[in-house]
Symmetry: C2
Subunit: 626 residues, 2 copies
């Protein structure tokens, strides 16, 4: 039977590495391709950053013979020549022809096939290329349906990054830092506990189900489900909180926890996946070493992602502090966007979690860089990310709706769905109530019971849960998880989201609460409270360190490093203190309160045009939309 | 030799349509895939537009039980269900398995291959999927190099649209419309003449070259080269014009011509490609019918693209005029972006030219919709597209530089390059000088000789030329064209761009010219000249039609349709006139000068917050960056 085909085609095999023989290699190849794409993008992003900085330098020094596009071309030529002549010895991915009479003796499938059409039907021979796309695990399901579906990886590479960056960038930092202890407790301990509880309960439920389901689902599968369903997305609730001016601390708890638990759930599910793939490959037994490696993996990836995000944010802050790029707002905004995007790319290229990185980058950009930006750039970046966030968010929710019907790999299993809903609710309860009870022993102010109920009900599931569920749908178990997750997202967003208003009244949550009157007024005046807020220890330590060292280093705020560093460091301190910092009016000094939500607008030195009244309107937007 | 492979693999063939047997079908398939992707995106874009409008309606009517994400999910579910149950009878692209003992008897290669690994090396059989990628025309060149290169189509689908939209959106319309006749003459007649002259000259040059080159290049190839090299991109020159405040009419001529000739060159090259593919397939003889079909094709695509772009812009204007969506600037900006993007997608889905469509959409959005937007949205959209334009532009120029060394399909041919440079210069001269001479017979004010020289030297080549050249590199001829085009872009951008300042002084072009004092001042006051500018007939006719019918219909400007339409149409006119239009102060009436560059800021009705001073600062930016 093959001869009929063979009389027709010759198949040339294009392949990459030789002598490899496992699934891991295949995963590694997919990762290599992704890393290569990322490195390509990173290359161009860095080139653009270089161009922006040089253009600024040229404009600053009034050299005008070269436009930015000319510079971009020149840098491009230089980098292209380097890649061509220096880098060619070690290409990351290169495919070459294995001639069609060579025996193909690797268990790894080739990267590409080329199909040779002989003379018979055409005026000349033709060769067509086919690229490797992945394994078809379910051969029954061989029909490929393109209708209204996208590659799940676009969620992690295109849709989630602006959403998460915006969450970090628009964080109300004052209240976030005040409630830092509680937020971290809920987000890290709570999410982990919730993941394991849901995982264990689901595994128990599955064992009671008909045997075909029970046999196909491992504990790691349900644990993965536990992790993905533990991330929350209380968009609706926050919108209502904002409209009704709900208590700011409750707002901070709900928002802060939801932002961070996305990051935790993402890294956690990655570690579970890693553990499952690398150490258990089918045996199903518990391996202590592998388990601790997975735990280490979780912390390492989380902390490194946090670090890279924060460091890149700080580098941007230093760039904007020590250059006068704010004289050219367009260049400044471009630099800001490029630095933030390169943070994502660097994380992806180093196999960290890009989405987590941009979260912490966003927080740092808002906390430090934002203060150095020109009014125009503040306005532009805030508004742009707000719009991108709006579009990305609504796209993903539209997609959740459409894909419920069009995505070919749904698997409806009523028992599994019921179990999923129940366990998700229990997991949320296990996250909120015991931890609140524990924290209330030392926390002041305490988290009252009605706040706890509201925190429980604010546990809507959203974009992150869905993106994690649709990422992997190879087995029936995973397909059932996707279906359950989609339904949980849809139901919680519509029902819990829709009843949030009633719940607020039901739980007698105080509404119409004004923020403490320390935000910039619309008339441009600033009014600061002098009463110290009873902060948590962590918040207090951070606040003091931030005010004394970080802000003076990274922004133009007072006190300067000259005042806070010991005398022996005076030389360095002088180097790191700008004239703006020295000459600004002392009245602005107390703006340096580290956990303040508003930006330091240093009217004397920054105000460049008559558009300074832009600032209150941005504040109004960000306050309304967070 | 095949048996060794066959013992190892089973190749399943997945394919689409049957009984087709030509290259055209293959192109058609690629087009189908593109159209399908586009339709998918369009579907979600329309869903988001629907969501935005509904959310606005809900907010307007103070219905707050559903957040936008909830709505997005619900609409998604509805549309998903419709696609699933109604649309499945006629799937656009569906691939199914042809079992491996079926004879594959089509001359068309399959859409996908699946490669079957038997039990031998793995614990179970595995099947891998390979997607069709395209023909490998040059089998010698079978090494695939991923380094620092992207699919050329990303330029047309991702990089060019924001650049071209921004060009339209930031057009200084007053001077554009005043010089409309000259701009259209240069852009349409000039570009066409230039394309044919360059094509003919190049063909002549190639005939004098060594025979292998002469044989491989057809007249249509050189004509394609003529079209792509006739589009100009005078970024550097315009930046300098703007800095030095060069005569506004010269600025308008250079900018207007460059914007429109991109569109003309793109459509022209498409028609040439079409003519080459469909009617000549290798015979090389001139076919009168096919030629006129190509000419018709050119006009039809150009006019339809223009129409769709303009209509979508007008629909956006109507949407923003007759709803009070401007009360929610974020929704309004989102609607604006989504409508503009859907214009691109609609054009691509209907096989028109998306890039041309967004140009005219941008012009309409600026001319009509912009007047209806809230201050915040004006600010946000202007600044966002400015930033996107900056990033896209510099990305493409970086890429031109890098790809000079890394793109594997360059072909350096010194004679061809020299011929290319010479012909490109001659083509530019043929565009500018004879047409200026002709137009000066009736034009007032005339285009002086030094302006003509400057127009000639402002003919830098840029993004569009490069994108068109890299789109198709199958033959050696096309590769030589890519190399030549890249070099022309690089040299003109660096040398011509770099000497623009000197040329200005050399040609004694007046600099430091203020625009006529009818733009909005920074202090917010408006000062209008009463002296009529001697407009060209075309401009005068358009101006009057626009002021009397288009602006009253699409914006809140005076006079209203009640005043300009005949009495019999009073009913319709009343329906199309808003209260804002009726109640605004008459003092604003004379803002309705159709070719005015500035926006009508109707302070009484629109001003929603205290950020109205944003407007002058936007104007300053746009004036600086155009």
């Amino acid at each position: 039977m093959w001869s009929s085909l063979l009389g027709f085609f010759g198949v040339l095999l294009l392949r990459e590495c030789s002598g490899a023989d496992s699934d891991i290699e295949l995963d590694a190849r997919a990762q290599t391709t992704h890393r290569l794409d990322t490195l390509n993008l990173l290359l161009y992003t860095l080139l653009l950053i270089l161009t922006v900085l040089t253009v600024w330098l040229f404009k600053h020094r009034r050299v005008s013979f070269l436009h930015e596009t000319g510079l971009a071309v020149i840098y491009g030529l230089i980098v292209g020549a380097i890649i061509r002549y220096a880098g060619s010895s070690d290409p990351v991915l290169r495919m070459s022809v294995v001639s069609n009479d060579a025996k193909y003796n690797s268990s790894l499938p080739p990267d590409a096939l080329s199909l040779h059409f002989p003379f018979k039907y055409h005026s000349k021979n033709k060769t067509y290329e086919y690229m490797f796309r992945g394994e078809i695990r379910d051969v029954r399901d061989n029909e490929i349906d393109f209708k209204a579906t996208f590659d799940p990886e676009i969620f992690f590479n295109i849709i989630l990054p602006p959403i998460i960056f915006h969450a970090g960038y628009s964080l109300k930092r004052k209240y976030f830092f005040r409630n830092l202890g509680a937020i971290l407790t809920f987000a890290i301990i709570g999410t982990t506990v919730s993941s394991f509880v849901v995982g264990a309960l689901m595994y128990g439920c599955v064992q009671l189900m008909p045997s075909h389901m029970a046999n196909s689902i491992t504990f790691l599968d349900t644990l993965y489900f536990g992790a993905l369903i533990s991330s929350t997305d209380p968009l609706t609730v926050l919108a209502i909180f904002s409209d009704l001016r709900v208590d700011v601390n409750l707002y901070a708890l709900v928002f802060g926890e939801s932002v961070l638990n996305d990051a935790v759930a993402l890294v956690l599910s990655g570690s579970i996946q890693n553990y499952a793939e690398k150490y258990q490959s089918g045996t199903g037994t518990f391996e202590t070493v592998a388990f601790f490696k997975a735990v280490w993996n979780f912390f390492a990836i989380f902390m490194l992602s946090l670090l890279i995000g924060a460091v890149m944010g700080m580098i941007t802050a230093l760039m904007t502090k020590f250059t006068r790029i704010r004289d050219f707002p367009l260049l400044e905004s471009a630099l800001f966007v490029l630095m933030s995007y390169s943070t994502f790319l660097i994380a992806e290229a180093t196999e960290l979690t890009g989405v987590v990185t941009v979260l912490f980058c966003g927080i740092c950009q808002a906390h430090y860089t934002y203060n150095n930006l020109s009014d125009e750039s503040r306005n532009r970046t805030k508004q742009m990310f707000e719009l991108l966030n709006f579009l990305a968010e609504n796209f993903i929710f539209s997609y959740i709706g459409v894909s419920m019907f069009t995505f070919p790999k749904h698997h409806f299993d009523v028992l599994f769905i019921v179990a999923g809903f129940t366990c998700a609710a229990i997991g949320r309860a296990v996250n909120i109530y015991p931890l609140s009870w524990l924290m209330n022993f030392w926390r002041s102010p305490k988290i009252p019971t009605n706040f706890q109920h509201m925190l429980f009900f604010a546990g809507l599931r959203g974009a992150m849960s869905f993106a994690l569920a649709i990422r992997n749908t190879v087995s029936e178990a995973r397909q059932a998880m996707l279906t359950t997750t989609s339904l949980i997202v849809i139901i919680t967003v519509i029902i819990q989201g829709g009843s949030a208003l009633n719940l607020l009244y039901w739980f007698k949550i105080p509404v119409g609460v004004d923020e403490e009157p320390d935000t910039r007024r619309n008339d441009g005046t600033v009014d600061w409270p002098n009463s110290p807020y009873d902060k948590a220890i962590l918040a207090r330590w951070w606040s003091s360190f931030d005010t004394n060292y970080m802000k003076p280093l990274l922004t133009h705020s007072r006190p300067t490093l000259l005042e806070t560093l010991p005398v022996c460091c005076n030389g360095i301190a002088r180097l790191l203190t700008t004239t703006e910092q020295m000459t600004q009016e002392n009245a602005n000094g107390n703006l340096g309160d580290s956990d303040s939500d508003i930006c330091i607008v240093d009217n004397d030195t920054y105000q460049r045009d008559n558009s300074s009244s832009v600032t209150p309107s941005i504040q109004a937007i960000s306050g309304h939309q967070v």
